[in-house]
C-alpha cells in the first residue's frame, strides 16, 4: 500500500508578489488561528489543490488562478515536487503536464487503477486526482450540505456523481476492484456476442426452413442414370445423324459442282456449235457464192459445209450426251436433297423429342433441388457452427459469471466485514457525539442526510469520521486526510468540546498524514500536543516572495 506524505507547500501569488512556505509533519498537522477568516481554509484547500484536487470554491480573497503552488511530497520514500498553476502541472521540475496527464502520473505513482464509466460516452476512463482524494478531504464549504462527498467538486459530474461516489468508496476500500468490472465488461461483450449469434441463428433457421420446404415440395423421383444413358444415346444418335447429314451435304456439293461443270461444258459446246453454224452461212449466199473466196458451187464449198455440219452434228451429239448426264446428275441431286431433307427432319426430331424435353424438365427440377439441398446443407453447417459458438459463448459467460460471483462473494465477505466495522464506528460515534441519528446512517448509502442545525452537522461528521476510520483500516492507498473544521460554519464561543474530543479520539489517532483545521480556542479539548501551523493574517507575505521565487523558478523555465 502506497503512502503519500506532504512535506512542504510553497504558495506564491505572482500578481500580488506575495508568497509563503509551509512545512508539514508526517503525521498530524493542525492548522489553526486565533480568529476566524484568517486563511486556514485557504491553506488546507491549497494543500489538496496542489495535489490535484478540483476545489470548487476558494475564499474570495484567495485568487488561485494567479497563484503558483509547489508541493513537496513523499511516496513510500520517493520525494517529488508538484508545481501547479491552474490546470497545468510540473512534476519534479521537468515537463509540463496537462491535468489528465498529471492524473495518470499520480495514479501510476499510487497504484490507483480505478476507471469509471462516463455518463455521456459510456467509456470507462481513469479517474482524476479529485476522485482519488474524494474520501480524504472534507471541505468546509462544500462537504456539509447533507450529501456525503458528492458535491465537493464538479469533477464528479462527468460520471453522474452519486454512482461515482459509491464506486470510488468501494474501490478505495477494495470491495469493487477492477477485476470484477473487467469481468463484467467481458461478460457484457460475450452476452452481446451471444445475442448477435442468436439473431443470426434465427435468420439461418428461417432460410433453412424456406429451402427445406422447397426441397420437400418438389421432390421429383428421378433415375439419374437412366436420364444420363438416354441423353448419351441421344447424343450418339444425333452425332450419327449429323455425320449422315454432312455426308449428304458433301455428296450434294459434289454433284452440284459436277452439274456446274456440265453446264459450262454445254455452254462451251453451244458456243462452238454456233461458231460452226455461223461459218456455214458464210459458205454460200443466195446465189451459192462463198463470202470468202467468192467461188460458187465448188466442191470445196460443199466439203466445207459438210465438214461444218459434221462438226455441228458431233457437237450436238455431245451436247445431248452431256444433257443426258446433266439430267441424271440433277435427278441424283434431287434425290440426295430429299434424302438430306429427311435426315435433317430426323435430326430435328431427335433434338426435339418430347421425352427428352420431359427429362430435361425433370433434370432442371433435379438440379434445382440439388442446389437447394446444397444451400440448405451450407445453412445447416452454419447453424451448427452458430449453435456451437453460442454454446461456447454461453460457457464463457458461465465461467465469467462464476468468477464474478466468486469475486463478489469475496467482496461481499470483505464488505460485510467493512460494514460491521463501519457500523461499530457509527455506534461508538453516535454515543460519543450524543447523536442517535448517526446510527441510522448506512454504509454505501450516499443519499441526503436529512435534517438541519447541529444535529445534522453531528450526523454528517459522524459519517465522515466513520469513513475516515474505515478507510484507514481497509483502504488500499494512504493519501493524507484533510478535515476542514467539524461544522459547516464555525461559530465563536459555541462549546464544541464533545466534538473535538471525538475528533481527537477517532480521527487524530489514525495512521495517515492528517491535516485538521480548527480555531485555536477549540483546541483546548484536544489533549495531545500535535504540530500546529498557526496562521496570522495575511498568510502570504511580500517579504517571502523574493526568497521563494527561486524555488518556483523552474516554472518560469
Amino acid at each position: 500500500m502506497k503512502r503519500l506524505t506532504i512535506k512542504k507547500l510553497i504558495i506564491m501569488d505572482y500578481k500580488e508578489k506575495k508568497a509563503q512556505s509551509f512545512q508539514f509533519d508526517d503525521h498530524i498537522n493542525i492548522i489553526t488561528s486565533k480568529m476566524s477568516s484568517t486563511g486556514k481554509s485557504s491553506l488546507i484547500k491549497s494543500i489538496f489543490y496542489s495535489l490535484g484536487f478540483d476545489i470548487k470554491k476558494f475564499p474570495n480573497e484567495w485568487n488561485s488562478n494567479q497563484m503558483l503552488f509547489k508541493e513537496y511530497i513523499d511516496i513510500d520514500g520517493n520525494e517529488h515536487s508538484i508545481l501547479r498553476n491552474k490546470n497545468y502541472f510540473k512534476v519534479d521540475n521537468e515537463k509540463i503536464f496537462s491535468y489528465k496527464d498529471y492524473a495518470k502520473w499520480l495514479a501510476s505513482q499510487m497504484d490507483f487503477e480505478l476507471e469509471i464509466q462516463l455518463s455521456k460516452s459510456k467509456r470507462f476512463e481513469s479517474v482524476y486526482p479529485t476522485e482519488m482524494l474524494l474520501m480524504n478531504y472534507i471541505d468546509q464549504d462544500k462537504s456539509w450540505d447533507g450529501y456525503l462527498y458528492k458535491n465537493v467538486s464538479d469533477s464528479l459530474n462527468r460520471y453522474g456523481s452519486s454512482k461515482a461516489v459509491k464506486e470510488i468508496v468501494d474501490y478505495d476500500l477494495g470491495i469493487s476492484n477492477k477485476e470484477i468490472i473487467q469481468l463484467k465488461d467481458k461478460k457484457t461483450s460475450f452476452n452481446k456476442q451471444k445475442k448477435d449469434k442468436e439473431s443470426e441463428l434465427t435468420t439461418l433457421n428461417k432460410l433453412n426452413d424456406d429451402f427445406k420446404s422447397k426441397y420437400e415440395e418438389n421432390v421429383v423421383p428421378i433415375d439419374l442414370e437412366k436420364v444420363k444413358k438416354d441423353l448419351e444415346n441421344q447424343k450418339v444418335q444425333m452425332e450419327i445423324s449429323n455425320k449422315e447429314i454432312n455426308k449428304s451435304y458433301s455428296k450434294i456439293h459434289n454433284i452440284r459442282s459436277k452439274i456446274s461443270i456440265k453446264f459450262q461444258d454445254i455452254e462451251e459446246l453451244n458456243k462452238i456449235k454456233n461458231q460452226n453454224a455461223n461459218r456455214i452461212k458464210k459458205i454460200s449466199n443466195k446465189n451459192g457464192e462463198c463470202s470468202y473466196c467468192h467461188s460458187k458451187l465448188t466442191v470445196e464449198q460443199s466439203l466445207s459445209r459438210l465438214e461444218l455440219n459434221n462438226n455441228i452434228f458431233d457437237i450436238q451429239f455431245d451436247i445431248l450426251k452431256k444433257q443426258n448426264e446433266l439430267n441424271l446428275l440433277k435427278k441424283e441431286e434431287s434425290s440426295l436433297q430429299k434424302e438430306l431433307d429427311s435426315k435433317i427432319k430426323k435430326f430435328d426430331v431427335l433434338g426435339n423429342e418430347e421425352k427428352f424435353a420431359k427429362d430435361k424438365s425433370n433434370m432442371d427440377k433435379y438440379i434445382d433441388i440439388q442446389v437447394s439441398k446444397e444451400i440448405q446443407r451450407k445453412y445447416s453447417n452454419q447453424i451448427t457452427n452458430s449453435l456451437e459458438e453460442i454454446e461456447q459463448t454461453k460457457k464463457e459467460i458461465n465461467k465469467l459469471s462464476y468468477q464474478i460471483s466468486k469475486l463478489n462473494k469475496q467482496m461481499n465477505n470483505k464488505k460485510r466485514e467493512i460494514i460491521t466495522y463501519f457500523d461499530e464506528q457509527l455506534t461508538e460515534l453516535s454515543i460519543n457525539l450524543s447523536e442517535p441519528k448517526i446510527s441510522n446512517i448506512k454504509f454505501g448509502d450516499f443519499k441526503e442526510i436529512e435534517g438541519s442545525g447541529t444535529e445534522n452537522n453531528r450526523a454528517i461528521l459522524g459519517a465522515y469520521l466513520s469513513y475516515f476510520r474505515t478507510l484507514n483500516c481497509y483502504g488500499n492507498h494512504q493519501f493524507p486526510f484533510g478535515l476542514d473544521s467539524v461544522i459547516k460554519t464555525e461559530i465563536d464561543g459555541v462549546s464544541l468540546n464533545e466534538i473535538y474530543k471525538a475528533v481527537e479520539h477517532y480521527f487524530l489517532e489514525l495512521d495517515n498524514q492528517i491535516f485538521f483545521v480548527a480555531l485555536e480556542e477549540n483546541l483546548d479539548s484536544i489533549k495531545t500536543n500535535y504540530k500546529k501551523i498557526e496562521l496570522t493574517k495575511p498568510i502570504l507575505s511580500t517579504h517571502k516572495y523574493d526568497e521563494l521565487l527561486k524555488e518556483m523558478s523552474s516554472w518560469l523555465e
Binding site: L269, G288, N309
Partner: protein, 325 residues
C-alpha cells in the same frame, strides 16, 4: 460409240426429185466418168464416157395414157417433154409408180446407168404412144425417139424415211461405208448441192463455165463420201489411242473447231505429210507423237496450236488419208 444415240440428223431439203438425182449418183459413183447435169430438179442429164440419158422425174403414179397426156400448163405431155431434152442418148422417165397393167406389158432391160429394173414399152404400147403423138402433132424427130424411151419405177417411196433407208443400203452396196447419221449428213449436203445446181441459171456468154457448175460428178460425190467416212475414221482412230477419257474429249473438242479456227493449219497438213508413210509399224499413239514432233518443230505454221489441237489435226489428217485409200 454409236451414232444412233439420240440426235438423229434431220434431213433438210428432201424431195423425191433430189433423191432421184442422188440415187443415180450413188449408182454410178464408181464410174470416174460419170456426171449428172442438173437442168432442174425433175429434169437432168446423166453422162458417162459413152452414154447419155435424159431423165424426167415424176413423183406420182402414172400410166402410158397419162404419160402422153398433154398438161394444160406445159402444153406438152410428160413423155414429149422428156424426149425433146436432147438428141444423143436414152430417155428415162423416173416414176414413183406405174400402172400395173401397163407395167406388166413392158419389157425389162439392162440400163447402163441403172443396171436393172428399167423398162421399155412393148410394141403395142409404143404404137399407142405414137398414134397419140401423131394425134397431138408432135414433131416427127421426137416421135422417133420413143424407141429409146425407158421407164424406171422408183424403189423408194416419196417419203424421207423410206428413201433414206433405201439410199443407205444402196450406199453400202457401193462400198460407201458410212454410219447412219453420217449418211444423213452426206445426204443433206447432196440435197443442198442439188437444189443449188438446179436453181443455178446459166448466163449468156458464160455457158461453158456455168455448164460445169450445174454438173455433179462422181468425183464430187466421192469427196463428199470420203469426207463423211473420214469423220467416222477420226472417231475410230481416236478410240484406238490410249489417251485418257478427258484427253479424248479435249481432242474431239479441238476437232470441232479445226475448220473455224485452224483452217490454214489444217490445209497445210497436206503439204507437210503428203509423202509421209502412215503405214509405219507402230501404235496409234507412237504415230501421233512422231507426227506431232514434226509440227512442234514448225513454229511458223503450228506455233499457235496447243497440244490437243495438234493431235486433232494429225488424227483428222490421218483419217482423211485413210478415207481416201
Amino acid at each position: 460409240m454409236s451414232d444412233n444415240n439420240g440426235g438423229a440428223i434431220a434431213i433438210k431439203g428432201f424431195d423425191f426429185q433430189a433423191m432421184t438425182v442422188v440415187f443415180f449418183a450413188v449408182k454410178n459413183i464408181n464410174d470416174d466418168n460419170f456426171n449428172v447435169y442438173i437442168e432442174s430438179e425433175e429434169d437432168f442429164t446423166l453422162n458417162k464416157a459413152e452414154d447419155k440419158a435424159y431423165v424426167q422425174v415424176k413423183s406420182m403414179a402414172l400410166s402410158v395414157k397419162k404419160l402422153t397426156k398433154i398438161s394444160k400448163k406445159a402444153k406438152k405431155s410428160i413423155l414429149e417433154k422428156n424426149l425433146e431434152a436432147g438428141n444423143e442418148g436414152e430417155y428415162l422417165i423416173y416414176l414413183k409408180e406405174m400402172a400395173k397393167q401397163d407395167l406388166n406389158q413392158m419389157e425389162r432391160v439392162d440400163d447402163s446407168f441403172i443396171k436393172d429394173d428399167a423398162y421399155v414399152f412393148s410394141d403395142s404400147q409404143r404404137l399407142e404412144i405414137i398414134s397419140q403423138f401423131k394425134k397431138d402433132k408432135v414433131d416427127k424427130s421426137i416421135v422417133e425417139r420413143v424407141q429409146k424411151s425407158r421407164v424406171f419405177v422408183s424403189k423408194f417411196l416419196d417419203n424421207l424415211n423410206d428413201a433414206r433407208i433405201y439410199m443407205i443400203g444402196l450406199m453400202n452396196d457401193n462400198q460407201i461405208d458410212i454410219t447412219d447419221n453420217r449418211a444423213n449428213l452426206a445426204l443433206n449436203e447432196l440435197f443442198i448441192l442439188i437444189h443449188e445446181k438446179a436453181e443455178y441459171i446459166v448466163k449468156k456468154g458464160h455457158e461453158r463455165r456455168d455448164y460445169e457448175k450445174k454438173k455433179l460428178t462422181s468425183k464430187d460425190l466421192g469427196h463428199i463420201f470420203t469426207k463423211t467416212k473420214s469423220r467416222d475414221y477420226f472417231k475410230d482412230f481416236l478410240e484406238d489411242t490410249n489417251y485418257s477419257f478427258l484427253q479424248k474429249e479435249k481432242i474431239k473438242r479441238a476437232r470441232e473447231v479445226l475448220f473455224t479456227e485452224y483452217y490454214s493449219a489444217r490445209k497445210n497438213m497436206d503439204k507437210v505429210f503428203s509423202s509421209y508413210d502412215l503405214d509405219d509399224d507402230c501404235t496409234s499413239n507412237e504415230l501421233i507423237e512422231k507426227m506431232k514432233s514434226k509440227l512442234d518443230n514448225d513454229e511458223s505454221n503450228y506455233g499457235d496450236c496447243e497440244r490437243f489441237v495438234k493431235i486433232a489435226l494429225i488424227i483428222d489428217y490421218i483419217s482423211e488419208r485413210a478415207a481416201n485409200l
